[in-house]
Point group: C2
Chain length 291, copies 2
């Protein structure tokens, strides 16, 4: 069962709401226009990971949409309330914690904000274990449009995720598990709900690579935390531009995100890519240090 906690000035620790009953206005612009922003975080043992990074990214997404963003001091008690309530219902199971912010009901002029905590879907661990068959799908944008067209909201995590969801459905119907988007000029971008990371090991030098943010991708919180941790362990870091051939020639490719964490890619467009259990274990251990 999902736990809901609304941000509400009358309730400094957040207002707990019954998720089995309707709680949103039918005229909320989040529901009628996908006009809002969100974040998903993993909580383990009652502790939400990387809260600061998620709130920072969400503030940046909200700024791109010109949405007033509640201060971290308003979100944090609501997150704590949601996790306490989740623990009361689900014990110490891990939780998906979503932070939601919409432009609010039409004409109201004030945003709607809430925290939702729910159990981690079972498929999450399985994909991490078994690896992913991935399709490359054209995102339609060239890798330079983000900077010249801010109205496209590239790099913002908006509620307008219909294309991301459609791409995942397309992959599943074609026998794959997930997607890596490419730009119209042939660059590797990101997954619909994840960041692309690859490893190259050459002459004993280990390098982690990810596409450059300037291509309009979402800055990955888990990727960023992994890179910081890996650098301390002696890894070299690189930031695009990457093309599909880089993926095929890498010593390992992963999709990384806050809930599923590090999931190895085992094939791209039907062609196998090397899956290194050793590299996966090493990087997964680094991800686990990200608290």
């Amino acid at each position: 069962m999902t736990v809901l906690v609304f941000l509400d000035p009358a309730y400094p620790a957040g207002r707990i709401a019954d998720a089995s009953k309707p709680q949103l206005m039918a005229t909320d612009l989040g529901a009628t226009r996908g006009d809002g922003v969100f974040e998903s975080m993993l909580a383990v043992d009652g502790h939400a990971r990387k809260v600061g990074m998620h709130l920072e990214r969400m503030a940046s997404s909200a700024a791109a949409l010109q949405l007033d963003f509640p201060a971290p001091q308003v979100w944090e008690p609501a997150i704590a309330t949601a996790l306490a309530e989740f623990a009361r219902v689900h014990g110490n199971a891990p939780a998906v914690v979503k932070l939601m912010l919409t432009r609010g009901p039409e004409g109201a002029g004030s945003p709607t904000a809430w925290v939702a905590a729910s159990p981690v879907p079972e498929s999450t661990g399985r994909q991490r274990e078994e690896g992913l068959d991935v399709l490359l799908l054209d995102r339609g944008y060239d890798s330079s449009v983000a900077e010249r067209a801010p109205w496209l909201l590239l790099g913002s995590k908006t509620l307008s995720y219909a294309v991301n969801m459609a791409a995942l459905r397309f992959a599943k119907q074609h026998g794959a598990d997930d997607v890596i988007f490419t730009s119209s000029d042939g660059k590797v971008l990101e997954g619909p709900t994840s960041t692309v990371v690859l490893a190259v090991v050459e002459d004993g030098v280990k390098t982690l690579l990810t596409p450059e943010l300037e291509s309009g991708i979402l800055p990955g919180t888990t990727q960023s935390a992994l890179f910081a941790a890996a650098e301390k362990e002696g890894w070299q870091l690189g930031y695009g531009p990457l093309e599909p051939t880089h993926l095929m020639q890498a010593d390992g490719v992963w999709l990384i995100s806050s809930i599923r964490l590090l999931a190895p890619v085992k094939s791209i467009d039907g062609s196998p890519v090397p899956v290194s259990r050793e590299l996966t274990d090493e990087l997964a251990a680094l991800v686990e240090t990200v608290l």
Copy 2:
């Protein structure tokens, strides 16, 4: 006040709901992922215009998202109920009638569908009278991507409208009223909530033009009805491709949509374009025949 009527098997004529209270689940994928489709229709004197065309387009959008679409025989009584209830509250004022369909609450596996009827915003008539200052904004896609990348959902009217709303905000902040999107290869596409129509009068021959659907634009119901009516009156019809120079050289440019109807464009990127009161009146009269 908005009138809400939910499609509900237990209520063959639709279930009236109180719009002043929450009516949507916080986990509805319409609200959390913009995962759904919609239509907006104008109702005058208790009669919704072009219902068949809107339901047909909505069915096509739903198919692109692989959403089960309720049959017209299910929508129609709900629309009638909404209009009767609207008339009870607002008398014979014109109404905006929205048809909404989302993928439903997460895990429920059944869509959420409702009809919302609300008064027409006052700005609507003013823009039709005064005309529009428009900016050309890059939509980021090239005009051939729609056909090769169905997962981009181009030509579908989804709830993921954050970019459309951001483009309108960008225009307003830059002193304009509305937007005409262009493709990355320089073709005229559509407005964020309207279709582009232009008129050329040469040697006594009057031609109406609009961009071609293959460029990934939404098929305009009002544009389509206007074109059919104009053809009967002796107009020639043309379907793109159009470039910004065609707009600047036309004898009239309009943004056309179901609620605002025919609104003349008076400038594009700050350069005046000719506004013909005569052509506007003639075309507006044709639009009024579209029932």
